[in-house]
């Protein structure tokens, strides 16, 4: 697994890391809870045939600037700037979890800026009859199993790599959780359902069968709400961050959709 190319763009005066790798038409990736503390096998799968561009959301590993985003409008404009500066205008866009919600917002509010859309267990809705779990109220030893079907996949994501700064690394991990909380506290409900009908892009909705944060039944709510053509694909053996549990299966589903 070779290293991606690293660039930095500024959003609201704060640096955001942009990773890219691969060849072929561009595809953007906005990561889920935890962000991208490291490059992933899932992204390598996509990079076989596409140029994968993964900008870090404000506050996610590699980026700051969440602290000036007070409202959902602030967040949406920040993400839009981030995609433009990362060279993703008009490109196909994949978003997962927290990033999935923003990917959906981009396709709804800035329809010309998104080609085809793929959402992996996106945030944004909340159904009192089937409440989503609270990702920010988990006992320390329960977090990994909440995020992934195989807890080791989460542990691997957040483990400090050799040579990492032992003070700043854990702070960065907390900052990623804070950034997500800042945008989605307390329920993950941004009233995205009001904007789903504005999405005209062909949309693939991917959900881990064992998602313990957002009920897989939410997939249908997204499919029903989105105006464009939609398809739901459930991934066996995968949890909320399905791209960590089943990188090949998720990448294959996405490549099939955007090809």
């Amino acid at each position: 697994m070779s290293e991606p190319k690293t660039e930095t763009v500024e959003v609201n005066g704060f640096p955001c890391r942009v990773w890219s790798k691969g060849q072929g038409p561009k595809v953007g990736f906005l990561a889920g809870l935890g962000g991208l503390p490291r490059w992933l096998p899932f992204l390598d799968e996509l990079a076989r045939t596409r140029t994968v561009i993964a900008p870090s959301l404000p506050g996610y590993p590699g980026a700051t600037g969440h602290s000036v985003l007070d409202t959902h409008l602030d967040w949406i404009l920040a993400v839009h700037q981030l995609l433009e500066k990362a060279g993703l205008s008009g490109a196909d866009l994949v978003g997962a979890s927290v990033g999935g919600s923003f990917a959906a917002e981009m396709a709804a509010i800035f329809p010309r800026s998104v080609g085809k859309l793929a959402l992996i267990a996106p945030f944004g809705l909340f159904d009192e009859a089937e409440p989503a779990a609270d990702p920010w109220a988990q006992r320390r030893d329960a977090v990994a199993a909440a995020m992934c079907a195989d807890p080791r996949n989460w542990e691997q994501l957040v483990a400090a790599p050799e040579g990492a700064n032992s003070i700043e690394w854990p702070i960065e991990m907390v900052r990623a959780a804070e950034a997500a909380a800042r945008a989605f506290w307390p329920l993950g409900n941004t009233k995205l359902e009001k904007r789903l009908p504005l999405i005209g892009a062909p949309t693939l909705i991917v959900w881990g069968e064992q998602d313990r944060i957002l009920p897989p039944s939410y997939a249908k709510k997204f499919a029903d709400g989105i105006k464009g053509a939609t398809r739901v694909q459930t991934i066996a053996g995968a949890g909320h961050l399905a791209y960590l549990d089943k990188p090949e299966a998720v990448a294959k589903a996405i490549l099939t959709h955007i090809s």
Partner: protein, 424 residues
Amino acid sequence: MKLMWFHLMPYTELPDDFNKKHPSVWVDIHSSLFDPRRAHHMYNDFMDELEYAAEMGFDAVCVNEHHSNGYGLMPSPNLIASSLARRTTDTALCVMGNSLALYNPPTRVAEEFAMIDCISGGRLIAGFPVGSPMDTCYAYGQNPSLLRERYYEAHDLVKKAWTEKDTFAFSGRFNQQRYVNIWPRPIQNDPHPPIWIPGGGSVETWRWCAEMDYVYCYLSYYGYKAGLTTMNGFWNEMAKLGKDRNPYRAGFLQFVGVAESRQQALDLYSEPAEYFYGRCLHVDSRFALPPGYTTEATQRAGIEGMMTKAANLANPATKAALKATNMKDIVDGGYVIIGSPDEVVEQVRHVATSLNVGHLMLLLQYGNMSKDTTKYNTRLFAEKVMPKVKDVFSGWEDKWWPKPMARGQRASVPAFRPQSVAAE
């Protein structure tokens, strides 16, 4: 020194198997455990106890705010304080306090505190806590990443509402109000009622208190031994900022159980103390650390170990880890001071002088302590301990104490005569 009588108002009838059957005393504690008819008696007992403490000559009575909490039955301490304003005469009323970010608009706090100050003739101490994660982020759904910014802005707004003479517009990051003009206005208007800040061990809070000239209060349940590192950190920071060591810059919470002898104290206070440290502090760790609640500077300080102990003590998750629940460890750890009056005198003097704290907030009721025992503890402390510790810090001026109207100018409140007694 000032001796202040603090009530948490714990629900006193949590079942013996509470910790086994229930994950948390806070946030999602089950409603079936709450019997409103029993709570009727608890509230009335607690308010009797506060009034009794005032009668016994404590300098202040203190109440605080908690939500969805089995050991704190005061979502609104202001309700209790307003009753105390009528049923006490000279005692300061310390509301410790109102979590500013939970009020929308925050001018509600400026108004209610002004009401209490007016009703009481200027006896209010205005406490402004950020609030615990359980109260603010979980029970009240506030965003942990925005909580402190909201808190500071609400503080600015409340203070301006108290001090600005003309109606003004407030255009804040989170609060927008065209017409801010509170009625009533506080009696203490030179410049405003004393502001006290309960906080954990974060350097930012210490600096802010110094800058604003507010009293910093460390309200830990773990007593003077665990509190020493934090208070040393506070005083070191004051020295760095060029502030004097006036002990009235600080407040500290301490549990006490006084009796005729140490053995009698153990007999009387072991059950309520073990009830408190066992059942009342049984908080699910999943509610301890919402991301963003602890600032990055405080996290960094903790990790770097520059002030590891202070930062860890400010961290509820670590607090839970060092929690003792049997009386021996509770006493050995200094969570609760017990003994005969003279033994307690010695310990209280030690707490005050070693921490350099002029405002000692005493918990003389805790856990399921009965009204009789509470009154006994309170009376013994007032009669046999207080006179022997009052002189501590007599060389310092308390510039942060309420300045009420002169006694002769204050309204006389008619004595309360219960109907049922009259009829008998």
